[in-house]
Symmetry: D3
């Protein structure tokens, strides 16, 4: 049993006697097209983290469900932490983990909007706590994981709420997928040196999907993606 939520302090004490690793899943509450639930990012992160924890016996911390989603804020239901808040949250959690003796932390981040804050919080905390080490896994930017999407769904240009992510959700939480709400519109991602913000995001991606209409997504592709993500995390934990 290695979910921190289910372990008592005595069990954690025993765990810390033999291990100093922990997995921390990060998510967001943010629009993911007309068809995916707002919790998509934390559902994904929790799915990967839980399975990686099970496979390795490494403790899994409860998920931080809220993240930085300023660019998507005009879509109903998106809830977000402002950057300074998120950095403080992550800093508090990393300090707390280190206080108890966790020294190697794998952050499974399910949301691109968190990446910058995570990076800054880790830099800041590790400046003061020199023996803390932090890895991060993000399935949607990971080169190895991406190859699975290419193999199962074909060459593509899509990210947020597009076919890879839809496939992932079909595999881990089909209740949060409503394929019938899709409208068939592609919103190409064009590289740009301009920041995408609360004002420009909805102009570029009116229904909140970045890239291809995700109707070709399959549960099988999602399962392959999940499996690959978990196996990368397992390797990162074991080869540390």
């Amino acid at each position: 049993m290695n979910l921190l939520a289910h372990m008592s302090w005595e069990e954690v004490k025993e765990y810390l006697g033999r291990d100093d690793r922990i997995i921390l899943p990060l998510g967001a509450v943010e629009e993911h097209g007309r068809h995916l639930g707002l919790g998509t990012d934390f559902i994904e992160a929790e799915a990967i983290a839980g399975r990686a924890g099970k496979a390795t016996g490494v403790a899994v911390a409860p998920t931080l469900n809220y993240g930085q989603s300023l660019a998507q804020t005009d879509f109903p239901g998106t809830l977000f932490l402002r950057p300074a808040t998120l950095i403080s949250v992550l800093s508090d959690l990393l300090h707390g983990m280190r206080q108890h003796g966790f020294r190697r932390i794998l952050v499974v981040n399910g949301h691109g909007g968190n990446t910058a804050a995570l990076s800054l919080a880790v830099q800041d905390v590790c400046y003061d706590l020199r023996d803390l080490r932090v890895k991060t896994f993000e399935w949607w930017t990971d080169a190895e994981a991406y190859l699975v999407i290419v193999k199962t769904l074909g060459e593509q240009k899509g990210s947020h709420a597009s076919d890879g992510e839809t496939a992932f959700m079909l595999a881990v939480c089909p209740n949060a997928v409503k394929m019938q709400r899709l409208t068939g519109r592609d919103a190409p991602i064009t590289p740009s040196r301009e920041f995408t913000t609360a004002a420009t995001f909805p102009q570029k991606y009116p229904d909140g999907i970045m890239g291809l209409d995700p109707r070709r997504a399959t549960r099988e592709a999602g399962e392959a993606l999940l499996e690959k993500s978990v196996s990368i995390c397992v390797r990162e934990l074991n080869e540390w």
Copy 2:
């Protein structure tokens, strides 16, 4: 379907066309004796919130799993947000909810250490946003809910991780209950004008239980407590 995590932005938009209420569960990651999981508080809050949402159709926001647990911090595994951080988090979430059109928020708070920060955040946000209204339900301080404990478990002096809370967990998450780890020690709660802090809490409550050894807790009592909690929340939502 009313879990925000599973609703897409389009579904939230439809919801906001007919309702402006939302439920926000707050928890903590904190020791609860040798026998209860560290996630006890958020598991309880999520259980109440989810059922109240189902019964009323009111939307349920994802749980804030981390809270303020400074006094329990020396027990392995306790993770906490410092007060200023938690106030910022709650302020961000309340602002975000109001931005989308949620105007009546029921906070189901599973953790006593959050109460002060919640109160301050609500005061602060509502000073700026005058049409926002916030209620809170805390099963462990609620006079009505308490009567259920008395009726099912008998007259008592116990709170954190004691028999009422143990009963609650037996009902909602038996996997996080290890009765065999109990040591049979009562730690009486004596009223005091001195603050209980990180230094004094472990002196007063060495195994982290405040009050009676919880071995008399039963699943039935927990179910009655859960049912009562849900019915109070339902009433608070409906009579608003």
Copy 3:
């Protein structure tokens, strides 16, 4: 002589050679009905603290006159510190006291709006400074002190600016009491799970009194209340 304001640093040094206790009075600048001065809360706290200091020889720090009064802010003259500010102020003062060698601090808090911030500041500071101990006395929530009100003024439902507080002010600062401005209106306090905020407070308590019209308040009742409050503080200081 034990008012910090009147002691020179040399006298404080001598004091710290023989004692490590200090009393800190907290107040607010906030409406208290049409009849009581805005300084009511700090006047009360200072009155109790000064007398308790005199009776025990314990040093009394200068009063923090301003507090958290967001809910009363629409009444002319209410001035307040935002929650984050008040927590910082209290944190700075507690750190400073500890730096000099004060280790046991009795906070005499005259204002309900400060309670949450005080609790959070104490938790936060004591997490870092493990040998600091803090007690608090609030006459208006204290069970023992309340019995004096019941005995002298009768069974009642009143708090802020109602008969107990008016009696208190008649005893300690009659210049700040204008009984002739009272309008005879009772504003019953009904228990509620909804937060009282800047928007809802004036709706529930239009003239700023929570509870009974305080015309039955007497100076004698106030003196009994003051005496009881002081004796509790003296006991808390002596039995520490």
Copy 4:
């Protein structure tokens, strides 16, 4: 009656119907030599403010007793707000005053360590609130007030806790003056481009007096200084 502490909200409302001025006294809790009480700065500010209020009918806000005293912090009993805290406090108070309709604020500052924070807070608040006007009076830097010291005590080089300040305290709070503790040592103030800090202040001014041994101070000089200070404040209020 014009002490805000003694005025009820109804009286403040009436006042604001005819005036928009207010006086805010600022102090500190800080060493002032072996002979003056730690509250010297707020006692002085409150004395000037109260008398100026009485003479003009302008409302007087409660005194902020604590200030920025980092350089004196190693002298027992000095308590201080860190700079960011003090700026927040002042900002909150100025915002609150403006919210109620006070538009002209005279700050009577009794302490040099507050000057920088006051200046920054005023600049910051007035950037957002363009119709707020703030004056400040500091008796110890005021050219007109200084002439009184020169006339009554003679040509001098002294400031903090030296003869002018001692004279002032003899006039307004003799209980906080212990002349017998003086040691007869002069600590010349030499102009320097180096900041005086917590480390260097005690080296330069071992007993906390900056300048002349203050034994030539007289109550009469203090009364002249107080009178002059009040008359300047009265003029600043009337000619606004």
Copy 5:
């Protein structure tokens, strides 16, 4: 003339009558191997920004010389802003620019450690200021600019202080280049999911160079790189 530093407010007023674009160069003060000056990043950013401003007539703001360099902090001379500080600085500058009427801002960022803070600051400010648009150019991550390095110096794996950056500095500030201090050691950049921090950076890159020993760098390559960088900025400004 379009350096803000040299323009008077009247000239800026005239400029704003005809244009709403501005260039903001960001740098850092950070180790760049044994051979490059600590100011490398701001020198580069300023060089590109100044030339792009000259070519387009777009105003160039003064350079922010300091940045986020926590990972390099153990190398003598590295000076850094903590993440929260840098976000506040950038937020203040963006707000100020928008206040005057600048609506399109090109940030020329010379330093990788700034990227996360810049992204968060832009998101945060643009949430409140919806008509502000911000682009960023970073020569060292830019795909087009990178091709110039490949063409002039050959296929490579190097970044911070390696041959591309050394070439750049040979072109824009040869005084800050001391080739004779190079030791001939390559420090391969290996992709990793672990964060590089203050503790691990010096272990991986003992002399502060990430990648190839930069002795093959040439001034010609640097000039080509500069020219390309400027031309990209010019295009981004003109096609906006």
Copy 6:
């Protein structure tokens, strides 16, 4: 070679083996009349610092180009850091310097709006870092430097952007001086106890010059002023 920007970390390491002094120039981006560039303050500070560094061999840190300019903010192009931001920036830089072993810091401050924040930051940092010593030089408030203005330009009442400052700029950066834009208007500086703010500054000084029309300024006077400023800094560094 002693510009930190041009020194590599290895050179700084060597420097710190023999010296612990450093010069930090502070500026602002702020209106300086119709005729002087917005960068006037940092250009001046950098000019003095660079020459003082050259004369003594003391290291010169890169200039902080932005400062606190709230009162001048309505003049086009003025960019500013809010007080809390500037205090954080200075605190970060002082901490960083001390970390590397710099213990004596000479701040050459070119801008009056920075003085308060600098003072607070130094106090705050030196409370925690007791062996750090900081001096400041401000040519425009310095009694010795002022005598040069009097001698070269005559008895005067002028400060910001007036004849002394114009002369200085003629000497160090004539490109940023446009004498032909002067309108011949004097804006007398009258001592006042009222703060000059964003609202009142432009009323008192409509074209942004405080004091005399600066047309009598000469390059020779500026050179004398620069020379004097440098010689004072050299002395402060050498006699430390």
